[in-house]
């Protein structure tokens, strides 16, 4: 196959919030940049974020970045790196104000400032009471943000390659990153994008689970590409189950509903969160609420004929508030749950939502791997930001509204680092290896030539069911061990996927088969990392690591206060220390403590 070569200063893969924010930095600095995206930018999954973006603007209640940092470290169950967390919380006001200047239609307070609402796990004065920190545009914050960022990129003349799917990362013999191979959907043609810098902003892989709030496109493409190219994946055992997915449909209902006063109730109508989190109640951290809900359901207090969900009640809010602050949620409830939340509560269940782990990066957006005794050695030419990256600010559990903040802060930071490295002459266009496209071409040839193979649909379904059963909200040693074996079998089957459609033009079957290759890497990483971590921390809670005096909440800091690194080759695990030291002297390290809400 003829492979065209295109050369750029930088190539960005993904045009969601992180990719667009990085692109702005590069376009405005005049770098010749290509942004590859498998969907039109405004169709990226950032569009589905609802409740808000965190920043301690203090527009409605007193607030400061120290409190935000404390909440984030505590929310991460101390697995987050405190340098990156300090960086993010300090930068929050700046990046949110920038967005407002770009034209983002935030809701407003009576005095004309950005409207802020309470959100889970966000508090004032180190856990004392809920704080209004979530900057919102009704319940469509992600939509408003993504469109504003796209619009600003239109102004900046950013060059997009729309409906191009990146296939593989190109590394040379030194391990340096030289760009990617990518396929144009409309023609099926493969090109090499040769660049001095490559930024991955490809989002998460929530589609490894059967029940997920994630879009079809959330297939972990960047994470899979990185893993296949020998980059380890960090903390992949940590997946966020959002408390309120619509039962049966999986569609997200924002935590902002509880921020506006919504209450979770069990079959007897009890506000059960009072028992699990006496202080923050329904606004406790997501992992805590999801576990409480699962416990209620497991102990027979679920609602409905099958007692398989709980109810999210906002019938006590005024219809005005619902229409003004939660109009999108009302539409979703009517569309996907068949109830008007003004009149009746919404049936909800914990649903896979967010990948805390990912490609290891530092706060500058550089991808870092262990090398020559340094656990965080930058990979030349390779950067990542947003959900595909692990900075790590979310650690073992992300707070709501910190994901939109993450993609703004680290999208910008990765962009700034690339611009600096470019201007200092540190970034070089290294010669392409002769076999730069061979891996991708071999994958495509295998797929085209496969006979008597497996259906992509069937293998994908088996993967999703296996993940759901073996690596869910609560985790059990025997299920995890079985899960490792099962996901290994699924991965073998995925090597023999066969498609009937061999057309060159907009071949969805081929795209889905290639996406499955990426999902499988993520699924393997998740199961193997989860099986190995013999403690409970954040979203990873094991039945055999209960709450004891030595190990509060089952967390075993003596043995497990460390980041997991999983290598695809050989299913190998390694670990690296958590950075408990903040970036500057402006703040003391947040000391380890038991998490209660």
């Amino acid at each position: 196959m003829n492979v065209a070569k295109r050369t750029f200063d930088a190539v960005i893969v993904g045009a969601g919030g992180a990719g667009l924010r990085a692109a702005l930095q590069l376009s405005e600095a005049g770098l010749k940049t290509a942004v590859l995206t498998k969907v039109f930018p405004t169709r990226s999954h950032t569009v589905a974020a609802q409740g808000g973006v965190a920043a301690s603007l203090g527009n409605s209640t007193e607030d400061n970045w120290h409190w935000h940092m404390y909440d984030t470290v505590k929310g991460s169950d101390w697995l987050g790196d405190q340098d990156a967390i300090e960086f993010m919380c300090k930068k929050a006001n700046e990046v949110v104000i920038e967005l407002e200047h770009y034209g983002m239609p935030f809701d407003r307070t009576d005095n004309g400032k950005i409207y802020q609402r309470p959100f889970g796990g966000h508090s004032m004065n180190y856990g004392q009471a809920p704080v209004m920190r979530s900057c919102a545009a009704a319940d469509r914050t992600g939509h408003a943000m993504l469109h504003a960022l796209y619009q600003r990129n239109v102004r900046a003349n950013t060059q997009f390659f729309v409906e191009w799917m990146a296939l593989d990362l190109i590394r040379d013999a030194d391990g340096d990153v030289l760009g990617v191979t990518a396929m144009e959907m409309e023609t099926g043609e493969v090109s090499i994008f040769h660049a001095k810098a490559t930024i991955f902003a490809t989002g998460g892989a929530g589609r490894i689970y059967y029940s997920s709030t994630n879009a079809f496109i959330n297939t972990g493409d960047g994470v899979g590409m990185a893993a296949r190219a020998g980059i380890p994946l960090e903390d992949m055992e940590f997946w966020q189950f959002h408390p309120t997915g619509v039962a049966g449909a999986g569609v997200l209902i924002t935590e902002g509903v509880r921020g506006e006063g919504g209450i979770l109730r069990n079959s007897s109508g009890e506000r059960f969160m009072e028992r699990y989190a006496p202080n923050l109640k329904d606004l406790a951290s997501r992992d805590v609420v999801s576990r409480a809900m699962t416990t209620e359901i497991n102990e027979g207090r679920g609602c409905g004929p099958d007692k398989d969900h709980v109810l999210l009640d906002i019938t006590h809010l005024s219809p005005d508030t619902i229409m003004k602050r939660l109009p999108g949620i009302r539409e979703i409830a009517i569309q996907f749950a068949g109830v008007d939340p003004i009149k009746a509560p919404i049936p909800v269940v914990p649903t896979c939502h967010y990948q805390m782990g990912g490609i290891p990066t530092n706060y500058k957006g550089q991808v870092v791997v262990p090398k020559d005794g340094n656990p965080n050695s930058p990979v030349a030419g390779f950067y990542a930001a947003g959900e595909c990256a692990c900075a790590s600010v979310h650690g073992a559990n992300r707070l709501g509204t910190n994901s939109l903040l993450d993609l703004l802060v680290f999208g910008k930071s990765a962009g700034e680092t690339v611009v600096e490295d470019f201007k200092s002459g540190q970034l070089k266009l290294k010669p392409l290896p002769a076999d730069a496209a061979d891996v991708s071409l071999a994958r495509l040839a295998r797929l085209d030539g496969q006979t008597k193979g497996e259906s992509v649909f069937d293998v994908g379904l088996e993967m999703r069911r296996t993940m759901q059963k073996h690596a869910g909200v609560f985790r059990f040693d025997n299920l995890l061990k079985e899960g490792v074996q099962k996901i290994g079998e699924v991965a073998e089957r995925a090597k023999r996927t066969e498609i009937n459609d061999k057309s060159k033009v907009w071949n969805v079957a081929r795209m889905e088969a290639l996406e499955l290759d990426n999902l499988i890497e993520v699924a393997r990483a998740t199961m193997v990392s989860a099986e190995a971590r013999k403690e409970s921390r954040g979203a990873h809670v094991r039945d055999d690591a209960p709450d004891t005096a030595e190990n509060p909440n089952g967390r075993d800091d003596a043995n497990w206060l460390k980041h997991t690194l999983w290598y695809s080759e050989g299913n190998r695990l390694d670990y690296k220390p958590v950075n408990l030291k903040p970036l500057s002297d402006d703040v003391e390290p947040i000391a380890l403590a038991k998490r209660t809400y």
């Binding site: 104000i97 200047h101 004309g112």
Partner: protein, 236 residues
Amino acid sequence: MTKRTVHFKIYRYDPDKDEKPYMQDISVELEPSDKKLLDALVRLRAKDDSMSFRRSCREGVCGSDAMNINGKNGLACLTDVDSLQQPITLRPLPGLPVIRDLIVDMTQFFKQYHSIKPYLVNNDPAPERERLQTPEDREELNGLYECILCACCSTSCPSFWWNPDKFVGPAGLLAAYRFLADTRDQDTNARLDNLEDPYRLFRCHTIMNCVDVCPKGLNPTRAIGKIKDMMVRRAI
């Protein structure tokens, strides 16, 4: 809902192998959990992996799966499959070149969107904090900023069918008014100049197909009317 079989008539065309487009009769058994047209299409793809359409969020916010459903434009993910008369006839969005099956080339649609300069213009030095806007002024943007660029409206508009290169179309004009209505934007005159032309704005004949099909319940015709009002007010 129980298991049931649903019958389709679907526009098929793969330029790689088909000389011309054809309508395919095809049926599929749905699972009880399949509620939306998109669920049915995903079920169909499991049976015939060459069936091509765009999709992503499956909750009506990304705008990918717009198509012509029993003669009316809509999003597959927001359409109850059981509400549709069978055979369910699916065609690509009208008026745009077809790439394959239900996938259209949206270049012209986005070209028009880009032509209205869809970004805030404010040349004052950026203040340290947010630019203030009253809740009432912010409310003016409701019904405008929620557009998902699915193109259901523009591709249901006869004026856009006849002049897709000259008429901005309802989606682009809704976006134009979104910036005209924003108290933070300073480019009002240039924006109106950009639309003062026999085609760009004035080809709207208030047929209102756009309002009828918008899956987000938005009203481009009203926005277009307001732009026309602004033109008139500026002239006198």
